[in-house]
């Protein structure tokens, strides 16, 4: 994992001083609200329905145990003893006081954390696959490139006031896409060309929100060392030509569409030609140095624990379910990746208490080299667990509520904080998630239904990624009342697809029944091997519509 050097530490400390100064001037009335707004947003600070909300950055989802313990302490000392994992792998506090935020930032800086650019019209936290570095089929570990992008984008003087927010994601495997790169402003897919050289396929102009779009490819192969100069060219074209007259048309996707992907690519290439050999071009030495921070932990030479696990599975059916659902393969024999599901019914998806954060830290130290990863599905991963310790770990996860074996199923809901917390929301999202979780509480039935992404957003901003849910739910406001629009067929993976709206929206208490009817249609129509998405793609929207609106 990346470790700060004296430069990073100095910049982090100066940032804390700067925000303290800005906060003091805001409280003293020297900064008007609209002047302080972008400054506090670029420090992750929203003023919300009930209190300010602070979004703390977790760069590409990586956390160390000491950072988890500090986060736990901060939630106790400055908040109400819990935090929320977001769909951008960040962590939010829901109840800090504005005047305490500089102190919180100082505490974070001590453990090499910050809240830089977690909101606002700037380059946000770069995200990637939660199994980076441990999956067998990745082209290269994406995390060094994520860190390179983090440093390049941090306080970039030219791109601090973009037309709108800007999100970059990197994916490393050609077979899976857990980072949803095609619905990002820039999606980078690590690839090798015919000569075996490393580079990126560059997608630009995807995104969710009001006008959801899948990002077109604007360059098939960008050599590894050209990463930053090319990003700089894309951002410069966007900064200069992105629309600033209408907030809803300001994302880069609108510019790419207006110019056509080819026209946009031409503009970028022309700009890039001027700067591609500038000193911003990466050097092999620099890349190696960043890679040196993401080396393998001290794995032991083990064999797969097939026999032991087989016996344990046979003797304990609950363990068997968990192993099937929540444990994933690892490139090293004898190791496995474990997903802790933060989706226990009755707890808002992604929420953790201070105590749970500390427990996760202890588990990370004991079972996974002291590191964890946050996922955009709002779960937490221990990436390097010994297979012969899985049973013991599972037993410890149960009382913590992290062993719910529903990963990837209907009840592993992605859900924004919604109207319970967020000032932007049109409707609550957490109670909808809970009502559906309660209705579908039989794990065997969930397994039979197979992979279904149920994604819930409380408003058009789509923090719950509803457009790319197999089933998407969007909270809408109708004359002051909360309603929910349902879409089907979304997919955030390699065949990225925006879901189609089913029809008129529903009242909140209808939602579990609506979902049940959709599931019934799938069960009636599916062939043996089909997932929900397969069946939907074959039979289309109509049969679902007929049943739900009958």
């Amino acid at each position: 994992m990346y470790v700060y050097d004296e430069h990073d530490r100095q910049i982090a400390a100066e940032r804390v001083d700067q925000f303290r100064d800005q906060t003091e001037r805001a409280l003293a009335g020297e900064l008007a609200e609209e002047e302080f707004l972008p400054l506090r947003l670029q420090n992750g600070l929203y003023v919300q329905r009930l209190a300010p909300m602070l979004r703390i950055c977790v760069p590409y989802g990586m956390l160390r145990s000491d950072q988890l313990r500090r986060l736990a302490r901060i939630t106790r000392d400055y908040d109400k003893g819990y935090a929320h994992f977001t769909t951008r792998t960040n962590i939010q506090l829901n109840w800090p006081n504005l005047e305490d935020v500089p102190d919180i930032l100082a505490e974070l800086a001590e453990v090499e954390m910050h809240a830089n650019q977690t909101s606002g019209n700037c380059i946000r936290n770069t995200t990637t696959d939660q199994f980076s570095g441990v999956q067998a089929d990745e082209i290269a570990d994406p995390r060094p490139y994520c860190e390179i992008i983090r440093q390049w984008s941090t306080f970039h003087p030219e791109f601090a006031f973009l037309p709108r927010k800007f999100k970059v994601a990197v994916n490393a495997s050609e077979k899976t896409d857990r980072a949803a790169i095609q619905v990002h402003d820039i999606g980078l897919q690590l690839v090798r060309n015919d000569q075996g050289e490393l580079g990126f396929r560059v997608h630009v102009g995807g995104g969710l929100g009001r006008t959801p779009m899948v990002a077109p490819v604007i360059r098939e192969f960008l050599p590894e060392l050209d990463l930053l100069t090319y990003l700089e060219a894309v951002l410069r074209v966007y900064n200069r030509y992105g629309r600033r007259d209408n907030k809803f048309k300001a994302r880069i996707k609108i510019l790419v569409k207006a110019l056509t992907p080819e026209g946009f690519a031409e503009k970028v290439e022309a700009e890039w030609e001027h700067i591609r050999t500038s000193p911003t071009r990466l050097t092999p030495d620099a890349v190696r140095k960043f890679q040196g921070y993401f080396t393998e932990p001290a794995y032991q030479a083990l064999n797969d624990a097939t026999d032991v696990l087989g016996k344990q599975r046979f003797e304990n059916r609950e363990f068997d379910k968990w192993l099937t659902q929540n444990v994933s393969e690892h490139k090293k024999p004898g190791y496995a990746g474990v997903t802790l599901t933060l989706k226990k019914t009755g707890t808002p998806p992604g929420d953790v208490t201070d105590h749970q954060l500390e427990q996760i830290a202890d588990l990370a130290d004991q079972y996974s080299f002291g590191e964890v990863r946050a996922t955009h599905e709002q779960n937490v991963v221990l990436a390097d667990v010994r297979q012969d310790q899985l049973f013991e770990l599972w037993q410890r996860l149960i009382p913590l509520g992290f062993a719910t074996a529903n990963l990837g199923t209907l009840t592993d809901v992605i859900c924004c904080p919604g109207g319970d917390f967020c000032a932007l929301a049109n409707a609550k999202s957490i109670p909808v998630a809970e009502a559906i979780q309660r209705r579908f509480d039989d794990l065997d039935y969930l397994y039979d239904l197979g992979p279904i992404d149920l994604n819930i957003s409380g408003c058009m901003n789509a923090c719950g990624h509803h457009h790319v849910g197999t089933i998407g739910v969007l909270g809408v406001d109708k004359k002051g009342e909360e309603f929910y629009q349902v879409s089907l067929g979304g997919d955030s993976h390699h065949n990225a697809t925006i879901g189609k709206i089913l029809g008129p929206s529903f009242a909140r208490d209808q939602m579990p029944e609506v979902i049940a009817k959709l599931i019934d249609v799938y069960v009636d129509k599916r062939t043996e091997e089909e997932t929900f998405l397969d069946t939907y793609r074959r039979v289309g929207l109509e049969p679902f519509k007929e049943r739900v609106y009958a």
Binding site: Q10, E14, Q18, E30, I148, Q151, T154, E158, F161
Partner: protein
């Protein structure tokens, strides 16, 4: 113009006047006794008349294209870039292009909705003088120009990004 802040935070006064774009049918009202900044395209249109004068500079609005003056920037004693609203970040790109692409070495001034917390970004992008919005406390400019002792990226202030400086 009122007080002008230099890149080192010191404040001086000069008398450059920013001449607004004339309305349709009107002509440019250049004052007789003061140096003046005129819209860049109008300077170019009257190039024969203005070139080489040390009392006529240009200003760009945030939607203007600095490419307009490619190859001619050295003829100007002062270039200003207007920030119509401080959240309009196009002026940063204009500044970097003027400096890094077109090689402008003269004074580059930020004008318009220029606030304290944007000063260091402006400095890094190549601005070396700033006219702070009148209601802001000019005594705080020096501190705000120097919140950070270094940046991660190359920009107009340094062509060496931190990853290269670390390596050396």
């Amino acid at each position: 113009m009122p007080d002008v802040i230099a890149a080192d935070g010191t404040v001086r006064n000069d008398n450059w006047v920013l001449v607004a774009r004339p309305a349709e049918g009107e002509s440019l009202a250049i004052p007789a006794d003061q140096p003046a900044l005129i819209p860049a395209d109008l300077w170019l249109a009257g190039h024969e008349h203005y070139a080489g004068r040390d009392d006529i500079g240009v200003w760009f609005d945030s939607h203007d294209e600095p490419e307009l003056l490619a190859g001619k920037v050295d003829e100007l004693p002062l270039i200003a870039v207007n920030f119509p609203r401080f959240v309009d970040g196009r002026g940063y790109s204009i500044a970097r292009l003027l400096r890094e692409r077109f090689g402008y070495a003269g004074e580059l001034r930020a004008v318009g909705d220029v606030l304290l917390d944007q000063l260091q970004f402006m400095k890094r992008c190549g601005f070396d003088s700033y006219v702070l919005r009148a209601d802001k406390d000019i005594s705080k400019a020096a501190r705000c120009l120097n919140f950070f002792s270094q940046g991660y990226q190359a920009a107009s202030d340094t062509d060496q990004p931190l990853f290269r400086r670390r390596a050396s």
